[in-house]
């Protein structure tokens, strides 16, 4: 029978990775991700997980070790956050380009300087184009569920791409939540053994990460792009099957009272749950507002997003990262790009808030929505609005 326990989300991730029968963990500790790999190190040391734990000297080395592990066909996991993700940066491209099914949880953290260990999405946005599948989660159960989904998607021989599971640092990584762990037999059935098709093996030598002159490099890159886009179909199938077996249902763009609502708020990550509280209150007062949450960040779900917002008049997008000198929040600029050519589309208003771990309360969300409505009616000279910063 499935176990429902009160547990810190980071520790729950470690337990889920154990259930996923991981082979190799290579990681470097960094706040607010540390508890994940600390717990896994303990599980390995106690013999509770039959896996190799590689304590490396940096995140660059962590991801490099993950490549080597994935190259021999081992099920490979790591975790990082903030500066650690940025130090991995160049190796992230190598992981996706070499088509290695590494799974990584990222406890989203603000970037220095000033030094901040608290959460926002600036680390994610810097690795947006690294070719990884990227999924956002809103609560502990979703993270645990996505450990199983991520391995299944990544290792599918039609996909073979690394997957990042994003969870908000502290706001999600460090809270204690009731989490249901599935039966091991169901996990084993849902998650078959990793069968990487061309592993390094002395009996069948291959060259990985080879040299490509201009005569072949563009073909290699286009193959990668086609593959990442095509992975959406497998992701959808995985979520459907997961829902049927485990009863938790996921989709690329998720809605909350958004059908026929004139005004929509779009969020990503754990702040979506706070936004729901604000939406409930406003709807209780007769306001015509709804919420849309972006779960699948890469590959970007263009069609699903267009369908979710086409009937609205106003779409207010909340970003938790700045794009310095750019067109507004990174999520909003992608949403605008997705809608630009559409005949029927809402007016889009960009807000940036909640950076460096600053909370956005339900009252703040209400204020953001009200300001957004005013801006969509009267216009604004700004590319985006910053909310909650003292003038």
């Amino acid at each position: 029978m499935a176990d429902r326990v009160g547990i810190e989300v980071s520790v729950a991730i470690g337990d889920a990775v154990k259930q996923a029968n991981v082979d190799v963990i290579a990681a470097y500790p960094i706040t607010p991700q540390t508890h994940i790999v600390e717990h896994l190190a303990e599980l390995v040391a106690n013999g509770e997980v039959d896996a190799a734990y590689i304590p490396v000297e940096s995140e660059h080395s962590a991801m490099s070790a993950c490549l080597g592990s994935a190259a021999v066909g081992a099920r490979t996991f790591t975790a990082t956050a903030g500066q650690g993700l940025e130090l991995m940066h160049e190796v992230l491209y190598v992981a996706s380009s070499m088509r290695f099914p590494v799974v990584m949880t990222v406890a989203n953290r603000a970037l220095s300087s000033p030094l901040s260990v608290w959460g926002d999405h600036s680390d994610v946005m810097a690795v947006r184009d690294t070719g990884w599948i990227q999924i956002f989660t809103e609560n502990g159960q979703e993270v645990v569920d996505h450990i199983f989904c991520a391995f299944r998607i990544a290792e599918d021989n039609k996909v073979l791409l690394p997957v990042m599971i994003h969870l908000d640092g502290f706001h999600l990584s460090h809270v204690i939540e009731p989490i249901t762990f599935p039966d091991q037999s169901k996990v084993d059935k849902f998650l078959p053994d990793n069968k990487y098709p061309l592993p390094l093996h002395p009996d069948k030598p291959v060259t990985m990460g080879d040299f490509a002159p201009p005569i072949i490099y563009p073909e290699a890159k286009w193959a990668q792009e086609v593959n990442l886009r095509a992975s959406k179909e497998i992701i959808l199938k995985c979520w459907q099957e997961f829902g049927e077996i485990f009863g938790h249902h996921y989709s690329p763009v998720e809605r909350y009272h958004s059908e026929k609502a004139k005004v929509l708020l779009l969020t990503m990550g754990s702040f979506s749950e706070t936004a729901m509280t604000a939406i409930d209150k406003m709807r209780g007062e007769g306001r015509d507002v709804g919420l849309v949450r972006l779960r699948l960040w890469r590959p970007f779900p263009f069609e699903e997003l267009r369908r979710a917002v086409e009937d609205a008049e106003t779409l207010i997008v909340l970003d938790r990262a700045l794009s310095f000198g750019g067109p507004g929040g990174p999520v909003c600029s992608e949403v605008k790009a997705a809608l630009y050519g559409q005949a029927k589309k809402p007016k889009v208003v960009s807000f940036v808030s909640g950076i460096g771990g600053r909370d956005i309360s339900p009252g703040d969300f209400e204020e953001i929505i009200n300001k957004g409505i005013t801006i969509s009616e009267k216009g604004s000279p700004n590319e985006f609005e910053i909310f909650g910063v003292r003038e």
Binding site: S97, M98, L198, P213
Partner: protein
């Protein structure tokens, strides 16, 4: 370079590549002739050669072989003209000269 199926690299489409552009044919780098990188070429005075094979050991390209007369000579399809063999030869067999073209 990516795996050569019946097609050459210039004929291959993105569909012809293995996942991650993995090369499944061992040793196919030998098809990449690096000799045209060369700006200097080795010349030999084989009378001085003591057959010590130091040039072969030091050659970073691995392109020096013993010919039918037992002398050590670079395969000019691969020799990049680095001159390490000339530097290491203890009896001064090898002299590097400018390539004419």
């Amino acid at each position: 370079m990516a795996k050569r199926k019946p097609k050459s690299e210039g004929e291959m489409t993105w569909r012809d590549l293995e996942i991650g552009a993995i090369v499944t044919e061992p040793g196919n780098a030998s098809r990449y002739k690096t000799g045209d990188w060369r700006s200097q070429r080795p010349t030999y005075d084989f009378k001085k050669c003591i057959k010590c094979a130091l040039c072969q050991i030091f050659c970073p390209e691995g392109c020096i072989f013993q010919n039918d007369e037992g002398n050590f000579e670079a395969d000019m399809y691969y020799c990049k003209g680095c001159g390490i063999c000339a530097r290491e030869c203890p009896t001064g067999v090898i002299t590097m000269v400018e390539e004419e073209e």
